[in-house]
Symmetry: C2
Amino acid sequence: RIDGGRLWASLMELAKIGATPKGGVKRLALTDLERQGRDLVVGWAREAGLSITVDQIGNVFMRREGSNPALAPIVTGSHIDTQPTGGKFDGNYGVLAGLEVVRTLNDLNITTEAPIEVAFWTNEEGSRFVPVMMGSGVFCGAFSLETAYAAKDTEGKTVRDELARIGYMGDQVPGQHPIGAYFETHIEQGPVLEDADKVIGVVPAVMGLSWYDCVVTGMEAHAGPTPMALRKDALQVSTRIMQEVVQIANRYPPYGRGTVGMVQLFPNSRNVIPGEVKFSIDLRNVSDELLGTMHDEMLAFIDKTRAESGLAVSIERVSYYPPCPFHPDCVGAVRAATEKLGYSTMDVVSGAGHDAIYAARLAPAGMIFVPCKDGISHNEIEDAKSDHLEAGCNVLLHAMLERAKV
Amino acid sequence: RIDGGRLWASLMELAKIGATPKGGVKRLALTDLERQGRDLVVGWAREAGLSITVDQIGNVFMRREGSNPALAPIVTGSHIDTQPTGGKFDGNYGVLAGLEVVRTLNDLNITTEAPIEVAFWTNEEGSRFVPVMMGSGVFCGAFSLETAYAAKDTEGKTVRDELARIGYMGDQVPGQHPIGAYFETHIEQGPVLEDADKVIGVVPAVMGLSWYDCVVTGMEAHAGPTPMALRKDALQVSTRIMQEVVQIANRYPPYGRGTVGMVQLFPNSRNVIPGEVKFSIDLRNVSDELLGTMHDEMLAFIDKTRAESGLAVSIERVSYYPPCPFHPDCVGAVRAATEKLGYSTMDVVSGAGHDAIYAARLAPAGMIFVPCKDGISHNEIEDAKSDHLEAGCNVLLHAMLERAKV
Ligand SMILES: NC(=O)NCCC(=O)O
Ligand SMILES: NC(=O)NCCC(=O)O
């Protein structure tokens, strides 16, 4: 069993870097603060006897040798960057749980056949640079290194320059690093485990995601003198689509998700009928067929709304990844470890994207969820219980050992 | 008849002050640019032999004496300030039409019994400082001089300081200035006249207005992991209210108006369920009873929505003025002048607020509308035809002469 107190202490130590007054963390990808976070973790890894490899997109692999040099390493990891108003656990937990596994193996003098590695991937959050899950995405070839390098923050700084500046542009070609199997522990970022009062979520799959930008164009006009019948009110047409996004998700339970999270009006003035409304649509489901059906129904509804309203309605898909079922061997290893350790458990399909979905394109992969308070994440008040974090780390240890062999 | 070419030339000359690249005007209240606009118009007034009075809120009255000093002046006017993306005609037309009336009387050597005055009121637009229609509002006692003086722009500059700085803080106590009757010419700011192909709108009344701020508070959560049934999506609840605002207005035709013009989401992020949505509601009608009914129905719907959704919904009224029927004598004078001059005409209830509604609290008042292109106003592309502006000014001349007596 791992040392839950040591894991918690490491989490709290890392959380000091970029700590916010409200108890959260702001440590955006490739900033000086993130470098400090990376340096702290790499330092701990060296103390634990691990060797370090950095690839060209700044992904870091920290290696504990096994007895059989021919075997690919069993890897675990997550990310060190946070949201602008992030918490102490998202990503950080997955990295430090890996480190705690290594420390425990060291304490117990256990030698595995396959090497054990702890990885952290560059810019998972996508807050400073898009696309999200950038390091693992480049690693698996979802998009090119050049695309990632060219990404700019709001000040125009590029990933290439910032990687070089903080000293994390390595030599290894992304994707060349061998992976035998990949595990990732993470807080659930949803309310399901807490609601059901379970400690461990076995993650059979991650939902696919489709992101859209929708723009409705009417005609701005004065709210007083313009009769109702002569209006081209872009917001009124938009609200119909916004409601349908939720209706579509409700038609495909239990994993359908539909969210409008971002809305922008022009000119956004109290006494002007909105002439243009831009908004985001986020559709998810765990079945690619159902996600496709949801997509089709949304486009059909938009066609209908365009025809009925006479207003221009444009829709553009801006992001997509398909549902990712995890490998039965890895899911099985997590389930077996959980049962062996006697933790209460249930399956939880991940609604959020994780680096594991990109790792899964190159090797068998699986994930372990633990509850977070009120299901809240991407928020400074994000919180998790030390007991639960310890349990997740114990499951990780045993799942990895099952694959790496002692 | 007035000189339409001279009126147009004055409008174009004034429009140079604060001209924008897109052909509009940005001349916010009490800025250096507005001072230049005021100075230009006051200079023209002096050239026309008028005497100038400025009151403590910066309202300016420019007087042509009559033959009977015991009579209160017949006043016309509007405003010189514009929206940030305003046009050349809103307000400016009303002031320069008044000046053109005076110039015509001078040319024809006509002496009226009652004096004739041209006024411009401070900060009608309310873009830089709230409340809107500030100068006329203080003048009629709708709110106090101290309230107006304390109003701040986004940089924290006060009306008091800015009035003093541009040299337009006069001595006269607002409201002490006598008014025998008040007329205001204005572009319609709506599509009704153009739609019906009429030249002159006789304005029997201005709609009453009720402004509200509505806040729906749910719980922000990650768009992926949070099941539909466990969400507290503030936007979904808000869209129901936004649609009802329009439904309520549609239930009280032809003068019911319902608009949501301003919406703000928190945190406004693509993959976060909105935790809070703030939006404005603008309700109008020409009958105070119907406006009251619309108000009641909206509050009832919000109570129902609060109960059904379980989310917190707050609503606050932030502005209100009742419908303002204009005085039959002034409306009659406008109608008679229009008929005498042979212009095509119809009654147009004003959906927008104007300084005339506050002047109407102290003296008989009336308004004259002319068409504007596509009904567009509060927009740099605001446009009007010289012929129509000339016609409106001729109606103003004859309506004022009818009241001032020759
Ligand atoms: N874990 C996580 O928040 N990923 C960001 C992409 C998503 O919205 O799922
Ligand atoms: N004329 C005008 O635009 N007034 C502003 C107040 C309003 O009617 O919305």
